[in-house]
Amino acid sequence: MKVSEVLESRRAYWRALEELCTKLRGRALRRMEAATASRFSSLYRAACADLALADAYQLPPSTVHYLHQLVARAHNQLYRSRAFAFRAWLYELFVAVPQRLLADNCLRLAFVVFWGIFAGAGLLAYYTPDFAEQVVGRDELMGIENMFADAKDGRPIDQSARMAGEYVYRNPTIGLMCFCWGLVFGIGGLYIMISNALILGAIFGYMAKAPSATNFFHFVTAHGPFELTAVVLCAAAGMRLGFAIVNTGGYTRGDSLRRTAKVVVPMLFAGVLLFLVAAGIEAFVSPSAIPYELKAGVAILCTLMLLFYFVFLGYPRRSARATG
């Protein structure tokens, strides 16, 4: 059998596969009939076999090249990207992740570093007169002081919505950037986290002895727990990822990175989620005119939820350890 005859006999099938590939790329995938699907797969397998036998058939190089592309296209239509399986994600988020987080050294380190520096900067700013000015800058401090000079009696709802948008844009962006910088051997994100902790701590310490301290704490109490935890989570996720390059655990550096990436994504996801909830609280609860006790109640509730998530859900269980 000559090559030209082989080509003629196979050409119709290849064309058919090509047409199906084009059709499946669009919206036809959902309403595809079973017969079409099985026809597609048998055509694909036939093309695979043709490619395997191309050498034995002595097909010309251009035809072999064509077959490579045809098989690649069909392969991409057959094996498609897997979207998020939301049930699996729920399990991951509420069962697997908390257990991993409680045992995560990076999270412990990030937690201690962030809160340690935050508290240290706060104390320094409270007891030394010009620490806050040196860290934050005089004009910024004045601006913040003016912002809280008069008691807020709530905002109109549309202004709150605008601020919610602003918080949603600003805060998770800082968190995600912090995560990305973590890739620099785990210490890049540390810098952003430390600078944030320093500035925030200095502002807290400074405002605590300022005349408008009541207004300030009125504002920051409610959303504080979620927002600050979210920063820690994002930074820890970045640190974990970047540190996988340094401490490979016996794998090559690339493999170690890839193994860690899968673990880190839910952590980042949890961080962004916390940021979004915190933005909602910051925009609608924090500036409202409800009494301070209620706002403190929100803060306590948030803290309890975090404790429940990290400690109760995350407490190591034998079954989880056995399986994973």
């Binding site: 030209s4 397998r45 002595q58 010309p60 251009s62 948008g165 995600l176």
Partner: protein, 322 residues
């Protein structure tokens, strides 16, 4: 030889679950940059139009300020998750990638999962350093075989070219001279695979060469064949290869040479007009092979011609028959 080609090429071999290896060409920066720019424009337009519509909408609802907030939320979502969502639900493509015919796949050829799509697009930020000039990504991509930027390296993904090529048939070399020459070849000659591949590559490309260049290229293959077939050495090498190609790829039917017009008869006179693109070699010209010690084993005559069975869908397990 194949190994050297693989080292030079930007193609990556993938083994599918069907146990077949096929090749992808990896997309380099010159294909990914236009795709990125297209996506950038789409993102900008989407954000501008979206903010405009949202602000109009909230204005009519009497909540003017809220529109700006909603616009910022949209901006945040598009800036960080545009690529991730499209690549998840469009099977590894964004609109820009689809226009440039490239696709994100896992490094092992599998399709990407949602977390890979999202993470590689979040990490775009670090690849874009400094100041969205993408120097980090460019350097990282040029340091590995698969052009993976940092985000790709972390997620184990790569961007491949998904081109479509027209299926060419067999080249037509049906000139009478070729047919005559084909009839003169030994009837039981069966070329080796490498020779067949060489013939196909040569005939496919010879139309792009000048006559002199064709001679120069063809004679390296034609000379040992001439000796084997006991053909006169001054035979036109281009013509010989075309005849062989015709014999191997196109037709088996014997063509009777027209009486009194042997192709050798015309050789060496050099006075006839050049017809059908076959140049003629001058009479006194001695061919100078460029690589006189080139290996000749490729041209071995196979005694048993391979005749693989070709059912409608050839089962793969029958391929090792010989």
């Amino acid at each position: 030889m194949a190994d050297h080609a693989a080292e030079l090429d930007t193609s990556i071999e993938i083994v599918t679950p069907e146990n077949i290896a096929f090749q992808y060409r990896v997309a380099g920066p010159f294909r990914r940059l236009p795709a990125y720019l297209i996506d950038l424009i789409i993102r900008l337009v989407a954000v501008v139009v979206g903010i405009y519509v949202l602000m109009l909408l909230f204005e009519t609802l009497g909540l003017g300020e809220a529109g700006r907030g909603a616009g910022l939320v949209l901006w945040f979502a598009v800036a960080w998750f545009y690529g991730g969502l499209f690549e998840t639900y469009w099977n590894g493509q964004t609109p820009g990638k689809r226009m440039m015919h490239i696709r994100v796949v896992s490094a092992d050829g599998q399709p990407i999962a949602g977390w890979q799509a999202v993470l590689r697009n979040v990490l775009r930020f670090i690849d874009g350093q400094p100041l969205f000039s993408y120097q980090v990504g460019l350097i990282a991509a040029s340091l590995n075989r698969r052009f993976q930027r940092l985000g790709d390296l972390v997620c184990g993904t790569m961007v491949v070219v998904e081109e479509r090529q027209r299926l060419d048939g067999v080249m037509r070399v049906g000139d009478p001279e070729v047919l005559e020459m084909a009839a003169l070849l030994p009837p039981n000659f069966q070329p080796s695979r490498t020779l067949a591949r060489t013939l196909a590559a040569y005939v496919m490309r010879r139309v792009y060469f000048s006559v002199g260049r064709r001679m120069e290229i063809a004679q390296h293959v034609a000379e040992p064949l001439c000796q084997r077939f006991r053909l006169p050495p001054q035979i036109n090498p281009d013509l010989l290869l075309c005849a062989l190609y015709h014999r191997v790829f196109v037709h088996e039917t014997e063509v009777q040479p027209v009486r009194g017009s042997s192709p050798f008869g015309k050789m060496g006179t050099g006075s006839e007009p050049v017809g059908a693109g076959f140049g003629r070699r001058g009479s006194g010209e001695v061919p100078v092979p460029i690589f006189p010690d080139a290996p000749r084993d490729d041209y071995a005559v196979q005694e048993t011609p391979p005749e693989p069975p070709i059912p409608a869908f050839p089962p793969a397990w029958r391929q090792r028959r010989r």
